[in-house]
């Protein structure tokens, strides 16, 4: 018994002794390279269970029974893993560590000067969500409509397109999945802004650059709108829509293995019912009527690869008269029919070892048949003396082909190198037929070959630069340009950052002013942008100052009796201003609003301007307020928008023997537009529901205010008339249904993982 006790005691003592000798206390402080303590860092002895967590002062301490050579590992999100060899013997081991910040998308500065992004990526530059494009009241479901509520874009109602920072609409180029889109908008009608061709629902990401954009894009003096199409749909579904302007239906099928999908949709638009209610300025013999269809397939070619095809087909017709300004009692007639086919094939894939490829091809066929003329009160076509030029037929037949290839190599952190090539081909045939049957056929071919390289350089999480160059050769001017681009971003604090952007941008003379009897060169713009941005939880503030210099703008004159022919590159101009943007989802509960304001001071001498002046598409002050409120109890979303533009100039330019002159000049009244939209979503929140329904009511110009976009002048310049929207107020009512079909049982397995 005694002996047993003895043994027991011995065992206990030796055990204790062993414990004391084996136990090592590891302690220390974890700090970042600025000396700030790191809280919550995980400290561990690699491949063992032992370790600890640092407290709010960065201190840690833990016991371990491990012995000998080991590796102490410290990890913390946003920091590089720290490793140090240690020898565990006995007593206390103090290891203080300085861990370096890791460059990551989550914490790094974003190169954002000049850029607005609408995507679901959690990025500083993402000021809008994809859904905002659809739910902005004044946008009327048009992609570019929502962008007009952002600073930088003008409220121009008499023509389609984005007029950015003193630039014309032609100075903004639009890209889908990397490749240029040639006829993004429906064909133009005089003094009426036509809609975009594409549904906002086919895009998941939008980047709207109001200047200083990347070297990956070119041939736009002012702005690039970069749209990214959606990937595979969530599920197989059918959709149906009915509205005051037409009907549409579609079907999307997702394959069983969820690796591919295909779909098709068709829509028929006829404005007759709407025009019956809302009286139009124009008298239609053929109300605008559109047949549009699309086809798509998307194939997941590998874990990271995706092949997407999108095809669009459209035919449209319209024919109307308006009282002629040139001859009392007569009417001007305008007829337009359009056929447009657009195809886009895009492929992206990770090639491994940090390499990535993005390739795209697009092909467009566009045919316009325009009929212009005059009619008398009995709707008979007439040709009046001295106004014969108003009667003509214009047939346009255009083919466009664009290819783009981008290779990207990612390096450590977020540093990346991108380079590639782009080719734009256009072939436009036109036949201009005079009242007397005389025909003037014309053909214009343009080839632009471009090479570009760009690098994102992240020096630290706080400093990043994007340096790029683009080289373009255009057959139409037979010249080569070199366009450098540079931007720099610096993180001031956790939430605030400042950026700079500089770049040179070239663009071919517009095809509508060609051919020219003289040799021409590229038009050129130089951008300088300074930005400050602060993003806090649910609030965004952004301020920008810019200066844009235009050189070598095309001047036009009369060549062989034809007005508006490019004669030289002697035009010039500049634009300067500042802009603010504020979005707030926090201050008022369940209310999301944004305010934007732009100040623009611009002058230019281009086309047939007698001298440099502010063009008629540039207002000094523009502002927008957009409000969205979702009322849960009613399952309704209320959207309101107010758009303002201060007076824009108007003028009439006429020529005499000494050249062009402003024969009249003035300012149009300021523009005010209040819009309202209501979305009712009765199926939202029902978990078991596979169907989704939206009812939409939207009213533009709610208060029926008079809006004047400018003045048009008679041929002799003696009379002028206001250019006003086709109708003051417009109401849109629609219902959209989406039916989920065939939800496979283990859908969840590949949903997120």
């Amino acid at each position: 018994m005694k002996r047993r006790k003895y043994i027991f005691l011995f065992l206990m003592v030796s055990g204790l002794f062993q414990t004391i000798s084996a136990q090592v206390i590891v302690k220390g402080i974890v700090k970042d390279n600025k000396g700030n303590p790191i809280t919550g860092a995980s400290i561990s002895i690699k491949d063992s269970y032992d370790g600890g967590t640092s407290d709010s002062s960065g201190r840690y301490s833990f016991k371990t029974f491990e012995k000998g050579e080991h590796i102490l590992q410290i990890t913390s999100i946003g920091y590089k893993t720290f490793e140090q060899s240690i020898k565990l013997e006995s007593g206390i081991l103090t290891i203080d560590a300085t861990i370096k910040e890791e460059i990551s998308e989550l914490t790094a500065v974003v190169i954002s000067a000049g850029t607005f992004e609408a995507s679901d990526r959690k990025r500083t530059a993402a000021v809008l969500n994809p859904i905002d494009i659809v739910t902005t009241a004044s946008a009327n479901g048009d992609v570019t409509g929502a962008l007009k509520t952002l600073p930088g874009a003008q409220q121009v109602g008499e023509a389609e397109g984005l007029f950015v920072r003193g630039g014309t609409a032609a100075e903004t180029k639009i890209f889908i999945d990397g490749t240029l889109v040639n006829n993004f908008f429906q064909s133009s009608t005089p003094n009426v802004a036509s809609f975009g061709r594409f549904s906002p629902f086919i895009f998941k990401g939008t980047v709207f650059s109001t200047g200083g954009y990347s070297a990956l894009y070119g041939q736009a003096l002012s702005s690039a709108l970069i749209l990214e199409s959606i990937d595979l749909p969530e599920r197989t579904s059918a959709s149906l829509g009915i509205s005051i302007i037409g009907v549409n239906g579609g079907y999307q099928r997702l394959s069983k293995n969820k690796k591919s999908s295909f779909g098709a949709s068709y829509s028929y638009t006829n404005l007759a019912p709407a025009f019956a209610i809302f009286k139009q300025e124009q008298k239609y013999s053929q109300v605008p009527e559109f047949h549009s269809g699309d086809l798509n397939f998307r194939i997941k070619t590998s874990k990271t690869g995706m092949l997407k095809y999108y095809a669009y087909f459209n035919t449209s017709h319209l024919d109307f008269t308006i009282p002629s300004i040139d001859s009392l009692g007569y009417k001007d007639r305008f007829g337009l029919s359009n056929v447009n086919i657009y195809n886009n094939l895009a492929w992206k894939e990770n090639l491994g070892k940090g390499w990535k490829i993005n390739a795209g091809i697009s092909y467009t066929l566009n045919k316009d048949k325009i009929k212009s003329g005059m009619k008398d009160n009995y709707k008979n076509e007439v040709v009046l003396n001295g106004l014969e030029f108003k009667t003509y037929d214009l047939d346009l037949d255009a083919n466009y082909f664009n290819v783009k290839l981008i290779l990207e190599r990612k390096f450590k952190g977020l540093t990346a190198l991108r380079f590639g090539s782009e080719y734009n081909y256009s072939n436009e045939k036109s036949v201009f037929k005079l009242f007397n049957g005389q025909q003037f056929p014309d053909r214009l071919k343009e080839n632009i070959k471009s090479f570009f390289a760009e690098s994102d350089i992240y020096i630290t999480n706080d400093v990043a630069a994007k340096i790029g160059t683009r080289v373009e050769h255009s057959s139409i001017v037979n010249k080569t340009n070199i366009a450098p681009r540079f931007s720099l971003a610096y993180k001031i604090s956790k939430q605030a950052q400042a950026s700079l952007a500089y770049g040179i941008f070239y663009q071919d003379p517009e095809r509508k002013n060609l051919p020219s009897p003289n040799a021409l060169g590229f038009m050129k713009a130089t951008h300088y942008i300074v930005q400050y941005m602060k993003v806090t939880n649910l609030r965004t503030f952004r301020a920008e100052i810019f200066y844009k210099k235009y050189e070598n703008l095309v001047k036009t004159g009369i060549v062989n009796g034809r007005e508006g022919v490019a004669i030289n590159n002697n035009g010039f101009g500049d634009a300067k201003g500042f802009e603010f943007f504020w979005r707030d989802r926090k201050t008022i509960k369940n209310v999301d609003y944004w305010i934007s304001y732009s100040f623009l001071d611009t002058r230019r001498d281009f086309l047939n301007f007698p001298y440099a002046t502010t063009p008629n598409f540039a207002a000094k002050h523009t502002a927008s307020l957009v409000i969205k409120k979702f009322v849960q109890n009613w399952k309704m979303q209320f959207n309101g928008a107010y758009n303002y533009a201060s007076s824009r100039p108007y003028y009439n330019i006429a020529s005499d023997s000494t050249g062009y002159k402003f024969t009249d000049k003035g300012l149009i009244p300021a523009y005010h537009n209040f819009s309202f939209a209501l979305n009712y979503l009765p199926t939202i929140g029902r978990r078991d529901s596979k169907n989704f329904t939206v009812y939409v009511l939207s009213i533009s110009n709610v208060f029926n205010l008079k809006q004047v976009y400018g003045y048009k002048y008679s041929y002799n310049g003696m009379r002028k008339e206001e250019i006003v929207p086709p109708s003051r107020m417009f109401v849109y009512i629609g219902a959209f249904f989406s039916f989920g079909i065939d939800r496979t049982e283990n859908a969840v397995n590949d949903r997120l993982f």
Binding site: Y49, P130, K635
Partner: protein, 219 residues
């Protein structure tokens, strides 16, 4: 000879079995886990959950083939995200989910078709949705309810399925199909299932009793 072959065969099978048994948890592992697992139910501070998550992650990284430490580490991060939701610090949710996601993925790779993992997937997707409900409802809301359905299908007796379903019903506005009454029924059901629930081992998921009690006392 036949006997020799037989012995050889059995020994081969034996080694095969033994090799599989390599995956079997060591005593050290179970002890370490046993010390931590009960804390999952009782830790309600950000710092505490960070520490707990770190501890699970250390075990996970040392063991590499056990799904439970990955599961618990992810759970701690998701619980942290839920705490940020209650304080409406929504911008802190996504970074935590970015940590939780690979841990959850790893757990699923190691253990397929487990109701508990689908419960965690449900919590993950709900958490992602809560960071920006208006815009993420369509994707994450649907994924969350599908994960919960799957969890129920895999084990209809799992009390956490009913707890999670109850929490959904409790917090969803009535217009969207929420109901405090129905939630209460679900919490009761969860409570009953909890009483009869026997975890596969001392370290398998058995958490939730505290939360069920809390919701049952709410009016």
């Amino acid at each position: 000879m036949k006997k020799v072959i037989f012995i050889l065969m059995t020994s081969l099978v034996g080694t095969a079995l033994f090799a599989q048994g390599d995956n079997a948890p060591s005593e050290k592992y179970i002890k370490a886990m046993e010390a931590l697992v009960p804390a999952v139910d009782t830790t309600h501070s950000i710092d505490g959950l960070t520490d707990l998550a770190n501890s699970f992650e250390r075990i996970a990284n040392a063991e590499k083939t056990q799904w439970l430490p990955f599961y618990y580490a992810a759970l701690c991060h998701i619980n942290k995200a839920n705490m940020y939701y209650t304080t409406q610090e929504l911008d802190k949710i996504d970074p935590l989910m970015d940590i939780a996601e690979p841990l959850l993925k790893k757990a699923e790779e190691l253990e397929k078709n487990n109701s508990e993992i689908f419960c965690l997937k449900k919590m993950f997707n709900t958490g992602k949705m809560m960071a920006d409900p208006m815009n993420r409802y369509m994707i994450y809301g649907a994924a969350a309810s599908e994960a919960l359905e799957e969890a129920k299908k895999l084990n209809p007796e799992n009390p956490r399925v009913f707890l999670l379903e109850g929490i959904d019903k409790y917090y969803t506005p009535e217009q969207f199909g929420g109901s405090k009454e129905e939630a209460k029924k679900l919490f009761k059901e969860a409570s009953e299932k909890m009483e009869s629930f026997k975890p596969a081992s001392s370290i398998h998921p058995s958490w939730g009793a505290g939360q069920i009690k809390y919701f049952l006392t709410l009016e």
